[in-house]
Symmetry: C2
Subunit: 393 residues, 2 copies
């Protein structure tokens, strides 16, 4: 039973993703917040609640407790504050929390910021933190798998069971680089070929370097408002939060039922579809969590864009490109836009709002909008956390 108020997204902003060593945490956040404030016509003083998504604070950069620092720098002192962490789904956890604060009437205006700075430290430190996104005690400490190794387990099982090939995985990277090259905010601006992917160094077989998303810095911000506030702000094209879903998987991968999909994605998306009263067929455009190429193929299946085991067929047929059945990761995805882990969930919302407004800066990567429905799918760890958000215009 849902007693929620309707919640509109009235402003979005996103920083350039990439290696951003010249800006600190607060300044990088402001790059996104400034755009979101201008987009919505508000100032920091109007904000009553702020949720900050960051997974790395405490390990990756100087401010261990970042929400208050970002709030002060962006002019939001006085707002209620929390930092949300759900591993690589931290940005979605922040969006979800800010959404709830508006939906239930505790405030008429809330902001979610996703932020991560990952390139300042040695890559080995970042690798260790990512490896800890599962169960440190039993699996990371016990056996030492890196984060790519966890997804490689899934990739090899998927290949074995469904005949998915290394070339199929490579096609995901090729597609996402193609769109990343059209997105000025993307970390990578270059197109790549299947041969480039196959020839890149093996990281954890079958995953090669170009099957993996990069380590990036970036921030994204979303302004959420009640219907009354949205009208007061005279917003032309509000985008509505149609549904949210959340779930989790076992901490130990050894406890999973299988290794060919993420149960948390299935459960979270079912919740979101039910709440939004739609089916997967209604979705025009989606951002799915492609931290590795196999993750995008599993997402197609887990989210119901195709049947189980048919993900590779979908990418082979070009059905997830613009002009296909459903446009997926046409901002470049985590693979090419980059994956500053806490930022990603909010960056997905940014992209989908632009898509639903039919306001993408380069027309070549504007998805055709028929049903005015978009979906964001953000995974933390290896299906340890999952949030699915459905937007409608």
């Amino acid at each position: 039973m849902f007693v929620l108020r309707e919640v509109a997204i009235v402003g979005v902003g996103c920083s350039k993703f990439g290696v951003r060593k010249a800006v600190n945490l607060a300044r990088l956040s402001f790059e996104a917040v400034k755009k979101a404030f201008e987009d919505s016509g508000i100032t920091g003083k109007d904000v009553e609640f702020l949720a900050v998504g960051s997974a790395g604070a405490g390990g990756l950069y100087e401010e261990a407790l970042p929400a208050v620092v970002i709030a002060e720098y962006c002019g939001m002192t006085g707002a209620g504050l929390t930092r949300c962490e759900a591993a690589c789904a931290s940005g979605s956890a922040a969006f979800f929390t800010a959404y709830m604060a508006v939906a239930n009437g505790l405030t008429d205006l809330a902001v979610a910021i996703g932020i991560e700075k990952m390139t300042e430290l040695d890559t080995s430190v970042v690798m260790e933190l990512l490896g800890r996104a599962g169960y440190y005690l039993w699996e990371f400490h016990g056996f030492g798998p890196t984060f790519p190794a966890y997804y490689a387990l899934y990739a090899s099982a998927h290949m074995e069971k469904f005949g998915t090939t290394e070339e199929d995985l490579a096609l995901v990277a090729v597609k996402n680089h193609k769109y990343g090259a059209l997105n000025p905010l993307a970390h990578f601006q270059n197109k790549i070929s299947v041969d480039d992917v196959l020839a890149s160094p093996v990281i954890a077989w079958p995953l090669k370097l170009y099957d993996c998303c990069p380590i990036s810095d970036g921030a994204a911000a979303v302004v959420l408002a009640s219907k009354e506030k949205m009208r007061e702000l005279k917003v032309d094209t509000p985008v509505w939060v149609g549904g949210v879903g959340f779930s989790s998987g076992t901490a130990n991968l050894s406890q999973r039922e299988d290794y060919v999909g993420l149960k948390a994605s299935v459960l979270a998306s079912k919740r979101a579809y039910r709440m939004a009263n739609i089916t997967p067929e209604n979705v025009d455009v989606a951002c799915v969590h492609d931290c590795f190429t196999i993750a995008e193929i599993m997402a197609y299946e887990d989210l119901g864009f195709c049947g189980k085991g048919e993900g590779a067929k979908l990418i082979r047929e070009g059905q997830t490109e613009i002009g296909g059945k459903i446009a997926v990761n046409v901002d470049g995805g985590l693979k090419a836009k980059g994956h500053p882990i806490g930022a990603t969930g909010c960056a997905m919302i940014y992209e989908l709002v632009k898509q639903l407004r039919e306001d993408v800066e380069k027309r070549e990567r504007q998805a055709p909008i028929k049903n005015y429905v978009a979906l964001a799918h953000n995974v933390g760890g290896v299906g340890h956390y999952c949030y699915v958000t459905i937007l409608k215009r």
Copy 2:
């Protein structure tokens, strides 16, 4: 405008606070969760959303991303998950998030867990993390104040402006140790005298060792339910969430208007009183954030238990003991019960639910319940974050 559903607290649990080196993060959480599940008659499978409050994950203990590990260990795999961090108010941020998930109908049953393990590492590491709870870049890194030094600034300003004395501060510690000695869960089980406090080593004048709360390990859990679910569970004495309030202060202390109170406490409590439709006079029993003795005196004033500058008078007259005007921190407070930072917010709710049920295990520390109203006040940093929760029976 509030469109919330009513939310009941149907179960609470709290671990022993203290030095808990023999249990890891998940096991310590379970100590609280098990009691909360038994109290409410639910199992982990019933839980659809879990918010975990922890400030130190990533710095203080092995699991950098703890929510999924705790969820698995406590049988809640599949629930939506987020970790909330708001410095020393992280437990309240988790409670607030779980509350919202029920209040707006996204779920009928949610759990909040507060957890911290602080004693495993060298005290200097913990001190550094606490010092970073303000603005690392400008103040901690720039001038190196420890956390007691920040509160010492406020204590000396309060003494200068209102004539508060070192003896007044000591009285807070004496009161809270008196009640801690009656609370089997408290870190400290001993009574102390004003002379003990005054003779203890100076940490940051005017604060001495016994003006400071200890570094502790501990966990607390709260089960929240909709009215329908509460009836289904046949809960005898539900306690209702009457109001919540949140606010924040500047990250830089140099930007504060004064140093004799915490503006975030004033603003958060006003929001909570308004939502609950009560005044401070209605509150029977309160848990306030006494990380240092001066913090409790400022809380009396900021929450409206007395006028500004009258906090010392209130403690001198014994008005905040059982039998006085309002019973404050009769579980021992942070000062004597202990302050595992992420746990504290949920531990306050635990205590107040027991008080409102008139079910405190030792009758000597059961507050007289007249209006069936209780208040929890949880501060992060030095008024950087504040959450106020009002409970009603």
